[in-house]
């Protein structure tokens, strides 16, 4: 620890971890978006992993404080947020509600983008079975998805992915924090039910063949 401190002193002029903590707190107080560890690392001239260590211990600290706010690791950065336990009061204070709710169609499209990114509109259409242009536009306008690259294949289709805003809306730090898709695959009983309902009645095939003969 003393070695690290010495290094901090030497490199950045910041006396100690506690000083960095205070500086981070001040910065987070004025930042509008989550502040990424790499920005802080650059600012303090300290390795990113050390910054992350400091920030994570700050997250713990505020979590234990039982205060009205907390520090969260979200959207690839850190920011102060109100404690969900105080939602009833904040709600009454903040006049503007949270952004409007997404329709089921939009949510499903968003889920496909989130799990399959980068993905083209045609690929999403194929999964949902309908044209998704309108829904995609809506999601893009809300800043939840964006064009991220182009398909190398013929046609060079635009590929979409989720945005920083999406992470913030979901309250997660990265898409790797999403529960694995495998958890949502319907169980064998559902698959079986679906299969049964689609089953070609064998009788008829037989009858038809008889007719043929």
């Amino acid at each position: 620890m003393s070695e690290k401190k010495a290094k901090l002193q030497k490199v950045s002029g910041v006396e100690a971890e506690a000083d960095i903590r205070r500086a981070i707190e001040a910065i987070l107080m004025v930042a509008i978006d989550p502040v990424s560890p790499s920005v802080l690392a650059q600012l303090f001239e300290v390795p990113v992993d050390e910054i992350e260590q400091i920030c994570d211990s700050m997250v713990d600290h505020y979590g234990q404080e039982q205060s009205g706010f907390m520090l969260v690791h979200i959207g690839g950065g850190y920011r102060f947020q109100s404690n969900p336990e105080q939602a009833q009061w904040v709600e009454r204070f903040v006049l503007e509600g949270q952004s409007r709710k997404l329709t089921a169609a939009a949510m499903e499209t968003l889920a496909i983008v989130a799990y399959k990114q980068p993905i083209s509109r045609a690929q999403i259409s194929a999964i949902r079975g309908v044209d998704v242009e309108g829904v995609m536009r809506n999601l893009q306008q809300r800043g939840l998805i964006d064009e991220v690259s182009r398909d190398v294949g013929p046609g060079n289709a635009v590929l979409y992915g989720t945005t920083q805003e999406f992470l913030e809306r979901m309250g997660i730090n990265s898409t790797t924090d999403l529960p694995p898709l495998g958890e949502f695959v319907p169980g064998p009983e559902v698959v079986e039910a679906l299969e049964r309902s689609l089953r070609v009645v064998p009788d008829e095939v037989t009858i038809s063949s008889n007719e043929e003969g």
Binding site: V94, T103, E108, A114, R169, V190, E195
Partner: protein, 261 residues
């Protein structure tokens, strides 16, 4: 089906064709191959009637499902040839598997979507700090308008005010629509009084596009609903016979209005 643009209705029940299919299959425990298309179409038309406003998007989505179903059932509804091509049969199985895979995938993402909704609901209980810079630091901020011209501003305004195409209803994904229900209705009104009892098979003779068959089918249903036609299907997969209802006194234009309304 001329419908004014910009009317979008979100119904809690249906959000996509596979959803509809899932709903119909799981909720009503419909055996796809045992139920007549009529049941599904009726359920759908009922849903349409319950809606506040006509939703073209939903209607086109339904056409899509109907077309899938029709294709899957074509060999039974329209045994146009007594011979079953083994390739066709194989093709039918393949299609069934494809549909099953799609249904499973659709259900998977439905679940994932509800999980995302739960995540966002939890996250929405916590508000971020967005107070921003204190006055003392504002003078430090760079000139955001550096390099921005008057023309840039004008363009940004025009861009923001441009009508959003997201409201348009795209029916292209079905197929280039050559047939319309109005057209089919018109044709039926000419044809059926002359022929008396006629089979669906006969009415759809020469139609190759599945969408055309679906459209014809919907037209028959519409006329059936209006009491102009009578429909009879004796067996589950039997021939559908269509006949003119003698008491019918609905003018052609009334019928067209139905679809243009």
């Amino acid at each position: 089906m001329v419908v004014s643009m910009g009317v979008t209705v979100t119904t809690p029940v249906y959000e996509g064709p596979f959803d509809l299919l899932l709903d119909l299959i799981l909720r009503e425990e419909v055996e796809l191959y045992e139920v007549s298309l009529l049941t599904i179409v009726d359920a759908y038309l009922e849903e349409l009637e319950n809606m506040q406003e006509y939703d073209l998007e939903l209607a086109t989505e339904f056409l899509l499902i109907a077309s899938i179903l029709v294709e899957l059932k074509t060999r039974r509804l329209l045994p146009s040839s007594n011979k079953i091509d083994p390739d066709d049969e194989y093709g039918l199985w393949e299609e069934r598997d494809l549909l099953l895979a799609k249904l499973v995938e659709c259900k998977t993402f439905k679940e994932a979507a509800s999980q995302l909704r739960a995540l966002s609901q939890t996250a929405s209980l916590s508000w971020p700090r967005r107070a921003g810079l204190e006055d003392a630091f504002l003078s430090l901020t760079p000139d955001l308008l550096e390099g921005v011209s008057k023309e840039d501003l004008r363009e940004a305004c025009l861009r923001a005010m441009a009508p959003r195409p997201s409201i348009h209803v795209n029916v292209e994904h079905i197929a280039p629509i050559k047939a319309t229900v109005v057209e089919a209705v018109t044709k039926l009104l000419e044809e059926v009084p002359k022929t008396g009892v006629v089979s669906f098979k006969h009415l759809t003779k020469g139609l190759t596009d599945r969408i055309e068959i679906v459209v014809k089918f919907l037209a028959i249903l519409e006329l059936y609903k209006q009491g102009v036609l009578e429909i009879d299907q004796i067996d589950s997969f039997g021939e559908i016979s269509v006949s003119w209802c003698p008491e019918a006194e609905l003018s052609d234009m009334d019928l067209l209005d139905i679809y243009e309304g």
